[in-house]
Symmetry: C2
Subunit: 331 residues, 2 copies
């Protein structure tokens, strides 16, 4: 076990969600209520020391004048591959954190236990502790944002695999040798569901007459069409935009069916900005999953996340309260 | 816990692998050595009582005159969806076993504890206890036979998911809306790697000049080309046959990369009849996986199974020795 906590003595934790463009921290009580927040923007040219300083400042601000004796620990959600057992950051796409000993640095500066994990993985913990997946044992979460991420809560624990790197749900192959993925791969789920992919589909459609509504929204300039343009067009009822989202949702539904085959979860949580904006996509995914797995032998529910952008913060705080949920550390 | 075992008092278990065409049982000691075997063919028109009688006879023959006091229990590998917690057979494709209370029937007739699980899932347990995956904690097994099956050993336990139905590795979508799968789905791994799929590819190739070698082996009759024809042609060095197997292996490699992304296993075991026959397929899968996941952050080994056709029997015996490895029963 990593450390033990007397929740009566220490009824607070600090959860921090470190992203490529912003850092959000909160002081969270053991029921998942947020009693203070802090927030910082991350400059694009920031260096390692700069990020560590920003994280430290966000923690200090969220803590306010609460005594460290009342705080169980600090949970840090990072957009990185995390070796959870060694608490090392192996690979970070958007921040210069790989290889830096963030855990020890923060422990030294705060005097509190610090525990880190991948942001998408902590989001599923947030939903399991305080959100839509409360009390369940087998939950798969898929986050639709700029990229497609995810996390696994299996058998009542966060599932990390051999080295804590499991849950990279966006990078399963859904179309062999298919469209390019920002990760360098081909035909991944993110190749079709990421924002860049949706923008590309919208641009392709805008070249034909059926996409004229989308094109108009971008001032007639195909290159200005983004995923946002597509979402706005769909929200306004544009048939072509809705069609693109439904096609993406149908692919997502096939991927969800794959996850059901492999992992037999009770609940699939679809979260992330896109899930809140594109109900036609989520509905199409649900319909395709139902087609592949009619109710009966396998019963799986598909729900959208309940915690919104706070899932990562709350999951990070939950990890600080219950580090044993991190299976690699529990043994 | 299901039951506890004094391995000194009871150093044997009976493992039985119930298939659609044959039943194999063995008396196994706690080191995984087989000291007696039995074997029965399953007539295609057999009814439920007939199967139960055949299983009972196979158990009795494997046990011989060993006292039941020396036997820890009976593990039964079945080609079914098994609700592991309730020990119910939910769905069986090739045998009339769904809904029959096989566990209680065998307990009554033998006086021994009986525990059942899906055959492919028990094969991974066999390899983990006595074969190529010995002592590892995160192992994915994929079995290439008539169909494509698999099993998951995660975090030091058999992984069953919410209802014990996890591990249906052959039915992930690898080509969205792709070729038909015997299960009724589309574009599944089994749609490209199952024997029927390989036969279809060989038949398609035989329609052109490049497939003349394959066609010749089937006496010039396209309809007589089976997966066996393809394997024999490949073994004889036929370029077209090798190409078909390599293409299938490349698809398999993409699927393996997906599993690495989602589950981060230490070892992937490729087993089943096809894996022993088609080294070019296995090599192509390995190469594609290495391309998708170059060594570095993720280290995963791909190995072929060590136990051959005994993996199921040995896994079933291992389950009888250590029922707590079945996570759904362990809690």
């Amino acid at each position: 076990m990593y450390y033990t906590i007397d929740i009566m003595e220490k009824p607070f934790a600090i959860g921090i969600d470190v992203g490529g463009t912003k850092i959000a921290a909160a002081l969270v009580d053991c029921h998942g209520h947020i009693s203070a927040r802090s927030f910082a923007l991350v400059p694009s040219d920031i260096d390692t020391e700069g990020v560590i300083a920003l994280i430290g400042a966000a923690i200090a601000e969220a803590r306010g004048d609460l005594s460290v004796d009342r705080i169980a620990g600090i949970g840090v959600a990072v957009p990185c591959f995390v070796d959870t057992e060694e608490q090392q950051l192996l690979h970070c796409v958007n921040l210069p954190l790989a290889g830096c000993n963030l855990r020890d640095r923060l422990t030294q500066s705060t005097g509190l236990p610090v525990i880190m994990h991948n942001d998408a993985t902590l989001a599923v913990l947030g939903e399991e502790r305080y959100g839509v997946a409360r009390g369940l044992n087998h939950v798969l979460m898929i986050t639709l944002g700029t990229g497609v991420g995810g996390g696994l809560f299996l058998d009542g624990k966060l599932f990390g695999g051999a080295r804590g790197l499991a849950g990279e749900i966006g990078h399963i192959t859904i179309v062999a040798d298919g469209d390019p993925c920002p990760c360098g791969g081909k035909g991944h789920l993110e190749s079709y569901l990421g924002r860049a992919a949706l923008a590309r589909k919208a641009q392709e459609a805008a070249a034909g007459p059926e996409g004229s509504g989308i094109l108009k929204r971008a001032g007639g300039n195909v290159d200005d069409i983004t995923a946002e343009t597509l979402l706005e067009a769909a929200e306004a009822g544009d048939v072509c935009a809705l069609d693109i989202l439904r096609q993406a949702g149908d692919l997502l539904g096939q991927a969800l069916a794959s996850f059901v085959n492999v992992l037999n979860p009770e609940l699939i949580v679809i979260a992330g900005g896109l899930s809140q904006r594109a109900s036609s996509l989520v509905e199409a995914a649900r319909a395709r999953l139902r087609e592949e797995w009619p109710p009966g032998i396998i019963d799986v529910t598909v729900a959208t996340g309940q915690l919104g952008n706070d899932a990562g913060i709350l999951g990070a705080a939950a990890l600080a309260f219950s580090p044993t949920v991190l299976d690699a550390l529990a043994s």
